[in-house]
């Protein structure tokens, strides 16, 4: 890749923003640019990144999924309840249950979207409320405290794949969550780039009618997309649980907008067909740094909402402006 194409990319600019931002924060708070703080940021934002990747895939296909957060909390709360009721203390089982729930709920989205042909925003707005309501009705509204969380989950949340010792003898490290994120990134990248179904997601996002005419099986692709997003939401549910060691069936729900904002900020087009995982990850990084550090540099947390709004509008404006420019170019090229 040459320098010129590097500067054509959205990602390059975003990364620059992240870097400038980090430098600003570091001058105010030198602790920011330490390995320890970086690892900590990674640990707490990996779950969001996993969720964002699911939403990214859905956006690519030309749809949108605002029910991901509801699916994540369903997976988490059902898994923890089943674990406690059955007395099984195993993180793998927790993941399996949560992923199973995610796949099933994703499939329900896909049924409405691909078989009944309903608009994706309306469908997922509806199912989001439906899933969450059903969860509260059937599994209760009681939060589960640290004391009742099975040990395997707590241990998993503290597990590191790299450990360092501080001068005073205490330890810090790179969380296992990072490993999960890496696996998911590589898997998603491979799926999108090297499988026909992945290319199909790009194709239906770019021109759905043409994809149909070429012979893509649209229904299959849509089922795959929404179930994959469900699966990732399931994974995120358990990651979140072992991170905060507490389960409240009203958590996670409500954060979907800032996750979508991160994805769009990362350069994924709302209209579908265009976007990269790298962009998505940088978008998540930017939103996370923003969320965590505004207070630190002395601004009230209301500013956070304000800035997210500014970023979304800026992001959308830039995309819009670029499209305009391209349109004009297209008009001239003869």
């Amino acid at each position: 890749m040459n320098l010129k194409s590097l500067f054509k990319k959205n990602e390059t600019y975003l990364l620059l923003i992240v870097i400038v931002f980090s430098i600003v924060i570091t001058t105010i708070n030198p602790v920011f640019m330490t390995w320890e703080n970086m690892f900590d940021l990674l640990r707490s934002s990996s779950g969001t990144a996993v969720l964002a990747i699911g939403i990214f895939v859905v956006l690519l296909s030309g749809g949108i999924d605002v029910s991901c957060t509801a699916i994540a909390i369903c997976g988490q709360y059902i898994a923890i309840n089943v674990l406690i009721a059955s007395g099984v203390d195993n993180i793998a089982v927790a993941f399996l249950i949560s992923i199973g729930v995610g796949l099933a709920l994703g499939a329900i989205n896909a049924v409405f979207i691909s078989i009944f042909n309903l608009p994706t925003l309306i469908t997922t707005l509806g199912t989001s409320s439906l899933f969450h309501g059903a969860l509260l009705e059937w599994f209760g509204t009681k939060a589960i405290n640290v004391g009742n969380i099975p040990d395997s989950i707590k241990v998993f949340g503290k597990m590191n794949i790299l450990t360092f010792t501080r001068p005073d003898g205490t330890q810090y490290g790179l969380s296992v969550f990072f490993l999960i994120l890496v696996i998911i990134v590589v898997l998603t990248w491979f799926l999108l780039k090297y499988t026909m179904i992945g290319r199909g997601i790009y194709a239906i996002g770019g021109n759905r009618e043409a994809a149909k005419r070429c012979g893509y099986n649209i229904r299959k692709i849509q089922f795959f997309t929404y179930m994959y997003a469900g699966l990732l939401a399931g994974v995120m549910g358990v990651m979140h649980l072992s991170l905060i060691r507490y389960s409240n069936p009203n958590y996670i729900v409500g954060s979907e907008l800032s996750v979508i904002a991160a994805v769009v900020l990362g350069g994924t087009r709302i209209s579908g067909g265009t976007g990269t995982i790298t962009g998505t990850l940088i978008g998540v990084a930017l939103i996370t740094i923003l969320e965590k550090n505004l207070v630190l540099i002395g601004l009230s947390s209301y500013w956070q909402q304000f800035f997210i709004g500014v970023i979304i509008i800026l992001g959308v404006t830039i995309t819009y402006a670029q499209n305009k420019i391209n349109e004009r170019k297209g008009l001239r090229a003869a």
């Binding site: 179904i197 021109n207 005419r213 070429c214 012979g215 391209n326 170019k329 090229a333």
Partner: protein, 508 residues
């Protein structure tokens, strides 16, 4: 006839309120080059979509090599696997994907592979482009390409498959004469290998050049199949339209001219595009500009409309210099442009036909309190639908229910409705059938007679000569000749001048 490859029998298809196909038969032999022709909205694209499995016919059957298609519901992949490649009128490309992937995608899908090999994608795309002799950056996104390049890509995509039948629904409307010639030589080679072609075009010269047999559709009915050798231009036009078309040259009414010309262009320059462009336009004139693609004619038109900023020069309206930076400025100064590339351009596909037409003149439809008069709106829309004979049961239908050629008429209506002083038409009849072309020419003449100044840009020298009183010839960005009175010359003479100057430049 040789062995039959495709046989469609008794195909009917009704859309709400429109019988698009009525008991249509179509037979294509192995290695035959067959043309399907008919006016806009006669059902050509619909028949092709039924063959492709995009639409399900209400009745009738499509057989390929004796085997019936779509017995178990429609499926596009079934047609593809039976060896049929279709270039749809809207091209059906993926704007977000690269040239290479767009070209190779059909091949990947047909082979039913599960994974993607990027090296093969690049290689087969390169091979396909080499075969039709084009150079396009394989890694460019298709959305950044011009209409002509997009057509080339759609054609290459169909050629990469080892298809037994290739269907081209107006795939040559935007590409140059040279490219068409090259495509035809490829088609002849394919024919030798026993591959059949179904070709749709409104350019009758192409139809006569390439086809062996012609099936004619009219209002959704098949009205005959003729060997091309038995038809000539007039006969074909008569069969298609039920009328005989005659052209009388446009005689300019000199009384309309005023002391200061309506529009004058002085010393317009833009590096690498056009140089020293000077001309005047009087009220009531139809000024033709022609030249090969790349001669700078489109660029000049865009400069007049604020889409392409010139480096120097003056544009005057009614003798007063005007500053045109963007299309709004042009519109405010009474200049309108019908752009060359207008496939779906500026149309709100899902909105009604009527609303699309009146969108440019909403202000004039306001009544008291700034409210929109629904009555006026409907009347204005219906008026244009009738004037341009746009084929639809009602103006309330969405634009995307219209046939390709009828959508083009909506774009034309939209600009005509603004009643500009100067109207620039860049390729006013691309994709429009021969009968309606005549109608559109009559409308243009009518507007000129009422005092509008018209600039008509076209590839087709004959179209220019038939309709313009004065002609400018362009080559390599310069005006190389002005013909004061178009009745004093012939199409052949002008064509010679244009090609000679082109070759001289190329040689120099």
């Amino acid at each position: 006839m040789a062995e039959v490859f495709l046989e469609a029998k008794g195909v009917s298809k009704t859309f709400v309120g429109v019988k698009a196909l009525d008991n249509v038969d179509l037979t294509i032999g192995k290695g035959e080059i067959h043309c399907l022709i008919g006016e806009n909205g006669s059902g050509k694209s619909t028949l092709i979509k039924v063959i492709g499995g995009v639409y399900r016919a209400d009745s009738g059957s499509v057989k390929i090599e004796g085997r019936e298609l779509h017995e178990h519901g429609m499926q596009t992949i079934e047609t593809i696997r039976a060896g049929v490649q279709i270039i749809y009128q809207d091209l059906s490309l993926f704007p977000n994907l690269t040239v290479a992937e767009n070209i190779s995608i059909n091949q990947m899908l047909e082979s039913n592979q599960q994974t993607v090999n990027w090296k093969t994608i690049q290689e087969s795309a390169r091979k396909a482009l080499d075969e039709i002799g084009e150079e396009i950056d394989l890694n460019e996104r298709v959305e950044n390409l011009s209409m002509a390049k997009k057509q080339i890509i759609a054609i290459s995509r169909a050629l990469t498959q080892n298809a037994k039948l290739i269907i081209m629904d107006e795939a040559t409307s935007a590409i140059t004469k040279e490219e068409v010639d090259h495509l035809f030589s490829i088609i002849m080679k394919l024919k030798e290998r026993g591959i059949s072609i179904l070709f749709v075009s409104h350019k009758l010269s192409e139809v006569f050049e390439i086809s062996e047999n012609i099936t004619i559709l009219k209002d959704g009915k098949q009205i005959g199949v003729y060997p091309t050798s038995e038809l000539d231009n007039d006969k074909l036009v008569y069969l298609m339209t039920g009328r005989e078309l005659e052209y009388a040259p446009y005689i300019y009414n000199k009384k309309l001219a005023e002391e200061t010309p309506l529009l004058s262009v002085e010393g317009l320059n833009k590096e690498r595009q056009f140089h020293d462009i000077n001309f005047n336009l009087q009220k009531g004139e139809i000024l033709g500009i022609t030249g090969l693609i790349g001669s700078g004619r489109t660029e000049v038109a865009q400069a007049l409309f604020g889409l392409n900023k010139p480096d120097s020069g003056t544009i005057k309206m009614h003798g007063k210099a005007v500053d045109i930076k963007k299309p709004e400025d042009a519109i405010n100064n009474g200049i309108a442009l019908l752009p060359e590339e207008r496939h779906g351009q500026g149309l709100f596909e899902e909105q009604s036909i009527g609303d699309n037409i009146v969108i440019t003149i909403l202000k004039s439809l306001l009544v008291k309190l700034g409210l929109l008069s629904q009555f006026k709106r409907k009347k204005a829309g219906d008026n244009w639908i009738e004037k341009l004979s746009i084929k639809t049961p009602t103006g309330d239908n969405p634009v995307n229910s219209l046939s390709g050629g009828n959508q083009q008429r909506v774009v034309l209506a939209k600009w005509l409705a603004t009643e500009p002083d100067v109207f620039i038409l860049d390729g006013p009849t691309i994709g429009i059938d021969i009968g309606s072309k005549h109608t559109i020419h009559e409308i243009i003449r009518d507007l000129a007679e009422k005092g509008m100044g018209i600039i008509m840009i076209s590839d087709e020298i004959q179209e220019i000569l038939d309709n313009c009183n004065r002609v400018l010839l362009m080559s390599n960005g310069r005006i190389i000749k002005e013909v004061e009175d178009s009745t004093t010359t012939t199409a052949d003479e002008l064509f010679d001048i244009v090609t000679r100057s082109y070759e001289e430049e190329a040689g120099a």
